[in-house]
Symmetry: C2
Amino acid sequence: MFRLISREGKARLGEYTTPHGTIETPVFMNVGTQAAIKGGLSATDLKTIGCQIELSNTYHLHLRPTDTLVKRMGGLHRFMGWDGPILTDSGGFQIFSLASLRRIREEGVYFSSHIDGRKLFMGPEESMRIQANLGSDVAMAFDECVGIPAERAYVQESSERTIRWLARCKEALEKYNAEEDAVNPGQVLWGINQGAVFHDIRVENMKRIAELDLAGYAIGGLAVGETHQEMYDTIEVVEEHMPADRPRYLMGVGTPGNIIESVARGVDFFDCVMPARNGRHGHLYTKNGIINIKNEKYAEDALPIDPECGCPVCRKYTRAYLRHLFKAEEALALRFAVTHNLFFYNSLMAEIRASLRDGSFEQFRGRYSKTLDQRI
Amino acid sequence: MFRLISREGKARLGEYTTPHGTIETPVFMNVGTQAAIKGGLSATDLKTIGCQIELSNTYHLHLRPTDTLVKRMGGLHRFMGWDGPILTDSGGFQIFSLASLRRIREEGVYFSSHIDGRKLFMGPEESMRIQANLGSDVAMAFDECVGIPAERAYVQESSERTIRWLARCKEALEKYNAEEDAVNPGQVLWGINQGAVFHDIRVENMKRIAELDLAGYAIGGLAVGETHQEMYDTIEVVEEHMPADRPRYLMGVGTPGNIIESVARGVDFFDCVMPARNGRHGHLYTKNGIINIKNEKYAEDALPIDPECGCPVCRKYTRAYLRHLFKAEEALALRFAVTHNLFFYNSLMAEIRASLRDGSFEQFRGRYSKTLDQRI
């Protein structure tokens, strides 16, 4: 499913094929948590802004509208009108970040819904069942995401349990894919590496999950409290033990600079809510750094957000108009800002791929790795 | 500028030409109060949903971002990226409905901004100055909109003052249009008939303002507390005295049934915030009546909002998905709902025009005048 096309240092140019199309990597996945992009973007807009793969959320969709309803409506692709690849996370991260009254047991996690407090249970089999009902192309393993800092003994215990859960995930998904009414029988499972910032636990965990011969591997549990340097160090340590012929996904990361630096360390897939969230606050990406469009100095600025940008907003509207929309609290402000920021991220990935194609990635990295994250 | 093509009874098929294009009438004007459509629709979306003329708001744009800024940015068309016709209302209605501490004098109205309480003044010359700065194609007269019920003596006094204000509007706009840096020197003035539900005051007012030989005439001060029957009666009385060769605009009206009934009484132009506001509450128009998409019964409904509708939402998305977006409080819910409802209104007008073209308007009226307003 993954084809490695070329390398520059550890950075990889590749292709990943799913039942809903082939993705060029490195790639940024556009986040549609509840089967919708924040800011009012539609599935049609995702095509326009260069999205190759959409990411939805198992925990949220299980609670509302429920995965069984989505299955009856023909699966997530049909439900939300997106015919490209979809990856679903496992729900683990949201159970640990949103839900309350958590009790972790060998069988899974008991917790209360963040919407109505209803008592729920999710283990590896339940997470796979939900993702099978959604019919995404890539299902993520059900894991525990340990916050950082964390006690070594607890991280060790959690890592062992997550590995046992992964074996159960694999078995469950194989079973569900074989069912006659499977929504997407070509759905595959990606494993998730955990171990906080303990390098030996990370490496041991990676070696063990690599043995399961899964379709892809993620590095989870980062961008949850450690420094950027700790994150990069952890990626470097883990990457050496990741199968070279499988895609690597760094979960929940990050800034443009984080992405460039992680590509340089061999990562292929990314996702992050940051471009949409920043957009909704008026923080917009440009090739020179991040601007705050609400700033007075843009009140009569007739330039587009980023004169170098080819997004539908920059092709037609001025900074002055966008600033007015923010000040007047018009919904269009959020839509325009999210459109621009996601287009920026998708274009950044396209430029990274182009630089890998012609061997100039290190040059690109030197020019943009630091400057894109600056607020100007 | 107005060409009457044909009549069926009092209903009129026509064409109105502005510096930014020709409009087929009867027409519904899509409301972009603050130079943006509620629900996150862009100027590009307006084209997609069949909008022929956009309506923006003098009072709101004067306060924010200010009309002088809009003028420096090249006028409202360029500022908001809409190259079709624009009508601006005069600010009068908002001063009387939104602003506080109003004092009405012969010269104009003293009031406080609803945003920051700042003391402001607007009279006929100020309203025309603002609308000239915005550069709309049609500027509306600065008038007093009297609430209903109202004292006869006050309505009489107000009507007289509004007529004196109208003469000042005409003189002011002629002067501004002659200025070298006029944004839209082809901008025209439409007068507004007032008089609450006092038929003799309405008629006298209409006769007097018709003498000013303006490019169009509106009936204002309706849909502010009177019954539908009182509104229709007033239109019938006034219509007889409106110049047949000028467009007639019924301000702030209304439901699909109101529009059909008013077309039958000789009205050409309409505007209303209702389709956008109803949309944001999940109330969606169909050819069978109004549905509440949040209703449980749509949870697994695979039909589009209206199977007969050709809007971008109905062509691609299900009721089940739209209901989910509302329940999950996604911004996309509002955008889809407003898109559908405005498309419905624009299509309704296109069907009215088609029926006038082939002489079947009365048949159309009989079939839809009552049913479209029903909640089902």
